[in-house]
Symmetry: C2
Subunit: 418 residues, 2 copies
């Protein structure tokens, strides 16, 4: 199949899916959950083929684990699909409406985006998550997964296509590009005639490639160089819990903290405490000179000096850069310089400092006295999410079903002319 | 000045402008309107230099007219700036908010996009319009106008910079790139570190260039291949007025109609009427075979046959393609094939047809029984607009002040961790 054919099929299917009733879309999702269970063995067989090739190619054990499906993981995927059924259908909502002086009635109505191009890497569960969220939001998706997971992805996408047919919807509402060459990804990124939005899901390199090469509008997701600033007016026990949680509860995710900034007035009291706790959890500390001096003074020398690059790095790992700042505004300036506009936090009891930080820091989510780990569709009450946007156009922060929609104006007249 | 310096200046200014109060921004606009009047002569002198070069280069009289400023036109520009003062300030609105089960308070707040890159062509009034809308919406703008209008643009941008300083705001809230080489436009399009959104304003070629080359997110504006479908159930006198208005009231704009589709049941009654009226207004008709036969039968032979390309063309001129269709769905299919997703209209008294057309046609504005000419910020009640978006990401249709904003989440806790 050519890319053009995928595009044409997607566009044709999008007209039908956009008009489907909430119950018809939910039926497709229920069928998908059922068939995922029914086809567990064939999905596992396909996954075995991917894993065999991964071993041959010497893929790391950690990467193999991301690729691996098990009966329990497939049940988890099916449960995720069932949860999407329970979410409110965003399509058809009347967002607002007015009657103009000339009698024209202008109605702003929520509609699907149309066709989503989703480019992702080795995790086969993305196939199911993206397909389920697309169907529920009335969007057709063209999936372009990585070659490592192609057999698993195909098996899962076939489940969704079968489910769509069972519900009387076009199979082409979910399409997976079988050819995983570089050319198909590039072609998809420039298929403006058929694709309304591109969502890359994966590492920073994938996302940068898509931003550099795409002509289709892109949602930039996922890079989180998140900071926690412990103000002079912080409750230190609370700050300790927040830093610990934001760094260690799940270090591999984008809303984990990467840098700790501490006001100099509380640095001597706080830094030895937090260093001791984090070191006990195997966190590597990369520190500024003032931090180094304070830690040494407290008899702690298990740290390295931070390089300029460290401050700009999203580790996604048990590493934390630590710096001392001499004022709230020095903290804000540091965050402005290195932030990826994802999630930033201040710990303080000072009303003015809390407000100033929230106003001045340019990020999708700015926290006072809470862990950055809450930047997440479920935690926000949106349900499942397609990703966390860290651009400002269209959607910011967790992207749930609503963020996969647009609107159109319906204008009702009785002969109005200008 | 290097592009990097424009970018740095813009980013620094954006932090200050984002926090400016509504009255401070309005003060800057009032000063700008005042100084525009004060500096009328120096602006006219600058414009004369542009016009002299334009004549030398053999610019068409129509293009010279778009470039030309007069005392009255400058007063019109100043009046436009004063009108922006009267619009509601969009910044700081709490869009929604929730309290989560764990006590976290999540507040979604409207904030400026940050830095807008605006790339435009020969009309110097865009400099003032874009600067005024940017300031009011809390956004810094980097303007990159065409070389033809550089002296006029510089004179107008200086007025705004002076006005900003008078209001205690950074001059760099409005920047005009003086070097109008191809390289500066290209550089601006890829300046992701400093520019949050690109808005090209101008012809289809300019917009396509920006889409092809930009890595900064783009709002695609302005291309309107708009259709009017006269259904079998139309009131023909109303249809006649709507077609006339949509085609002839201002043919050069993007919301003017370019194609008329008529249901075969009313084609013999309607086509000779509409052709006679439009021909009397010097509209050229490019028609399908059925239309040709009907017009000939009525003794009208002032038309040409439409080519495949004609159906896809936005003329922005007194030319109309005319086709006969055999059903509502044939009309919808035609529109789906050729639409630029801008503004589309049906004329009908049939409830089901009206609804089906509005649902099935994928455009920012879908009209029943009204002229497509209403797709406009003022007509929608938004006030001045920066353009009409015909993409689906971020904003669709007329882009007023709200569409130049994004949001951030402010999250207030008391020690929440996951």
């Amino acid at each position: 199949m050519t890319l053009e054919q995928y595009g044409q099929g997607a566009k044709a299917a999008s007209y039908i899916l956009a008009q489907a009733s909430p119950s018809q879309k939910n039926q497709a999702l229920a069928e998908a959950a059922r068939i995922l269970k029914e086809e567990t063995q064939s999905i596992l067989d396909a996954n075995d083929r991917d894993l065999a090739r991964a071993k041959e190619k010497g893929m790391t054990e950690a990467m193999q684990d991301r690729l691996r499906l098990t009966e329990a993981r497939i049940e988890g995927i099916a449960e995720g699909v069932r949860q999407v059924i329970e979410l409110a259908d965003p399509i058809g909502e009347i967002v607002e409406g007015t009657k103009r002086p000339n009698g024209l009635e202008i109605i702003k109505k929520r509609v699907p985006l149309g066709v989503l191009g989703i480019i992702y890497e080795a995790r086969p569960n993305v196939t199911a998550d993206a397909a389920a969220l697309s169907i529920k939001s009335g969007n057709v998706c063209i999936l372009r997964g990585g070659s490592e997971a192609i057999h698993s992805n195909l098996a899962i996408s076939k489940v969704f296509r079968k489910a769509l047919a069972c519900a009387g919807l076009p199979e082409d509402c979910v399409q997976l590009i079988e050819d995983t060459s570089h050319e198909t990804a590039q072609g998809l990124m420039r298929m403006n005639a058929y694709v309304d939005e591109l969502i890359p899901i994966g590492g920073a390199r994938l996302i940068q490639t898509v931003i550099q090469q795409a002509t289709v509008p892109v949602i930039q997701t996922g890079t989180g160089n998140c900071h926690i600033y412990v103000d002079a007016y912080a409750q230190l026990p609370m700050a300790l819990e927040i830093v610990d949680n934001a760094k260690t509860q799940r270090p591999s995710v984008c809303n984990a903290a990467e840098t700790l900034l501490v006001h100099q007035d509380v640095a001597e009291a706080f830094l030895p405490q937090v260093a001791t706790l984090l070191l006990s959890k195997n966190v590597e500390l990369r520190v500024c000179e003032k931090t180094a001096a304070i830690l040494k003074g407290a008899g702690i020398d298990t740290f390295v000096m931070a390089s300029e690059e460290d401050w700009a790095t999203e580790y996604n790992n048990l590493i934390l850069t630590v710096g001392v700042v001499d004022s709230l505004w020095a903290a804000i300036d540091h965050v402005r310089k290195y932030s990826t506009h994802h999630s930033e936090a201040i710990v303080t009891e000072n009303y003015g400092h809390a407000r100033a930080f929230q106003e001045a820091v340019d990020a999708s989510c700015v926290y006072v006295n809470a862990s950055t780990r809450f930047t997440d569709g479920f935690e926000f009450g949106f349900g499942a999410e397609i990703g966390i946007s860290n651009q400002k156009l269209h959607a910011r922060g967790p992207m749930g079903l609503k963020e996969l929609t647009t609107y159109k104006y319906l204008i009702n007249g009785n002969g109005q002319i200008r």
